[in-house]
């Protein structure tokens, strides 16, 4: 089996390169088709004071007077040589903006991802171990309600209840307003993280719970679960040793596949909580026609989601003995 890994990884990398190129083309085309005019967006209210000649000057300076294909070619060439360009919105190199934003978003998204995985899996196992009991019904109802709750709405409700009503949590941002970034303590950061984290976690939990539950119900009816019962195993024994172990793989796959959704959720959550993360940067880039930043965010997201899916695939091979074996047989002459 080990001899297949280099080939597998190489194909994945080539595929990923093509995918990134395709996403760049599509994202660039969409950005060009968007009605947002970068110059107007840049000028904002100052637009009244600027004549057409000056606007043309700005456009020429930015290279907007050239055909779209030339613009894309230049951008693509720069990206290949490692230069992501300059963000007009933040007046800084895109790479720097990305690095700063990822730093803020990573704890939020990472923790939300882990928590929703652990919580969702546990709830799914508990619910699926004894289908149609009250525990199952409560967990299922909870998951259905969560699954149909819009993230931004939940975020607003959390803000209204905990920040405005109970004054337990801050209303916005990743740190107290008016405090220098180097003076912010870890506790303050966590305090500002709580609500966005809850909003984002709750979004992910429902899906994992329902997937795990469905798989658990199936496993608990399987021959090997019945045989374990016939051996004198308790329900908990079967649920943990056979149920959870066998349900873990599909749950992990869903978890990795849900990375894209997590990012989508983070855009909404960060927007509501004014949390200066990657999602918020993407929104600002979109609104102000900041194409280099928008493309960089899109590529970043593509990379994360694609790598996530690849990890899920590889995990399947590592964890499930049957997949590796089939591979082995196929490879033999």
């Amino acid at each position: 089996m080990s001899s297949h890994w280099p080939i597998l990884v190489a194909t994945r990398i080539v595929r990923l390169a093509f995918l990134l190129a395709a996403v760049a083309v599509v994202a660039f085309t969409l950005a060009k088709l968007s009605p947002v005019d970068p110059v107007n967006a840049y000028l904002g209210p100052a637009i009244a004071k600027v004549g057409p000649e000056q606007r043309e000057l700005i456009a020429r300076k930015w290279g907007l007077d050239q055909p779209a294909t030339v613009q894309f070619g230049k951008w693509f060439h720069n990206v290949l040589s490692g230069d992501l360009g300059t963000s007009r919105t933040f007046n800084a190199p895109v790479a720097d903006v990305l690095a700063k934003r990822v730093q803020a978003s990573l704890p939020l998204m990472g923790m939300a991802w882990l928590l929703s995985g652990i919580l969702g899996f546990t709830l799914g196992v508990v619910a699926g171990a004894r289908p149609d009991t009250w525990t199952d019904r409560i967990i299922r109802t909870y998951a259905y309600v969560l699954a149909s709750t819009p993230t931004f709405w939940l975020a607003i409700v959390l803000l209204v209840v905990f920040s405005v009503g109970l004054s337990l949590t801050p209303v916005c941002c990743a740190a107290p307003i008016g405090v220098l970034p180097e003076d912010v303590t870890l506790l303050e950061r966590l305090h500002h993280l709580i609500l966005p984290l809850i909003a984002l976690t709750v979004l992910g939990v429902a899906q994992i719970t329902l997937h795990t539950r469905a798989k658990m119900v199936e496993i608990m009816q399987s021959d090997f679960a019945l045989y374990a019962r016939a051996q004198g195993a308790s329900l908990a024994d079967v649920a943990v040793r056979h149920g959870a172990r066998n349900a873990a793989l599909p749950a992990i796959t869903v978890l990795f596949a849900s990375l894209g959704e997590l990012f989508g959720g983070s855009i909404l959550t960060e927007q509501v909580f004014a949390y200066p993360g990657l999602g918020q940067a993407a929104v600002q880039a979109g609104i102000s026609g900041d194409v280099p930043l928008l493309l960089a965010v899109a590529l970043c997201l593509t990379l994360v989601v694609s790598v996530g899916n690849t990890i899920a695939d590889i995990l399947y091979r590592v964890v499930d003995p049957r997949i590796g074996a089939v591979h082995d047989l196929e490879a033999r002459p």
Binding site: F224, Q231, N246, P321
Partner: protein, 266 residues
């Protein structure tokens, strides 16, 4: 009284007719017989006739819409849910029908270990090796995943798992289906030696010829009912000593006998 005693046991399923009306679909009806210590009773019936349901009913692993009536006794006491939880794996064990009864993601060694814990007989490495060696299974089989075992090895593995807790009753559900003659003989000899060691063995099968040399008595089923229970030595010659005409027809229909199919369909 026999170690395993079935008294008017029937198994059926509740089916919905339309949306509201339910009716019971009976599959096994009015089974009464016993299996004593030291004997193998072979339960013979057509495939798909619900023989396995009886095994599942004894071990309480039927689907939820199943209805079991009648009384099952183990060593004289009625097998209700609480009693079943006490004796499952410890005093009675199941040898299941197919490989799908082993967890596909777990190595066999671990599954034997789990079975040992469940039966209250935790195994160390030495005990596991000894148990496996008794059934001709080596280190490689122990470390294999279920799908890596051959059919015969898988059956021997399942017998090993079933005997982990030294049970008094072994119920083997079609333990020889899909095996060649040699492997079949091996499996049946293992079951015979369990009976000779004083255990009660209920052997569920559809193949009369295979089990006759090993079984003490044969319970013949026909359409979900028990047709007859005959000592296996009566299946001889033209079957003159067999009490039941159906059992005689079944015996005569075997290829090595007259091979006349007259009325032998179940």
């Amino acid at each position: 009284m026999s170690f395993l005693q079935l008294e008017r046991v029937s198994v059926g399923f509740m089916r919905y007719e339309g949306i509201f009306r339910q009716h019971e679909l009976g599959l096994l009806e009015d089974l009464s017989f016993g299996v004593g210590r030291g004997e193998i009773v072979a339960l013979i019936g057509a495939s798909g006739g619900g023989k396995s349901l009886l095994a599942h009913a004894i071990f309480g692993i039927l689907p939820r819409n199943a209805v079991v009536n009648g009384t099952i006794r183990i060593d004289g006491s009625v097998l209700d849910d609480t009693h079943r939880n006490r004796v499952r794996g410890r005093r009675m064990a199941l040898v299941p029908q197919s490989l799908s009864h082993l967890d596909p993601m777990t190595r066999c060694r671990k599954q034997i270990g789990w079975a040992g814990q469940r039966a209250g007989h935790p195994l160390d490495r030495r005990k596991t090796e000894a148990l496996l060696a008794r059934y001709g299974l080596d280190e490689r089989a122990a470390n294999a995943f279920p799908h890596e075992l051959s059919g015969g090895m898988a059956r021997r593995m399942m017998i090993a798992i079933a005997t982990v807790g030294d049970p008094d009753l072994v119920v083997a559900d079609e333990p020889t289906s899909g095996l060649d003659t040699e492997a079949t003989g091996g499996i049946l000899r293992h079951l015979r030696s369990l009976a000779d060691a004083g255990k009660a063995v209920l052997l569920i099968t559809h193949s009369l010829a295979e089990v006759l040399p090993f079984a003490d008595r044969v319970a013949v089923m026909r359409g979900g009912r028990l047709e007859a229970i005959e000592p296996s030595d009566r299946f001889a010659g033209a079957g003159e000593t067999l009490a039941s005409p159906y059992a005689r027809a079944l015996w005569i229909a075997l290829p090595q006998n007259a091979f006349t199919p007259g009325g032998a369909e179940c």
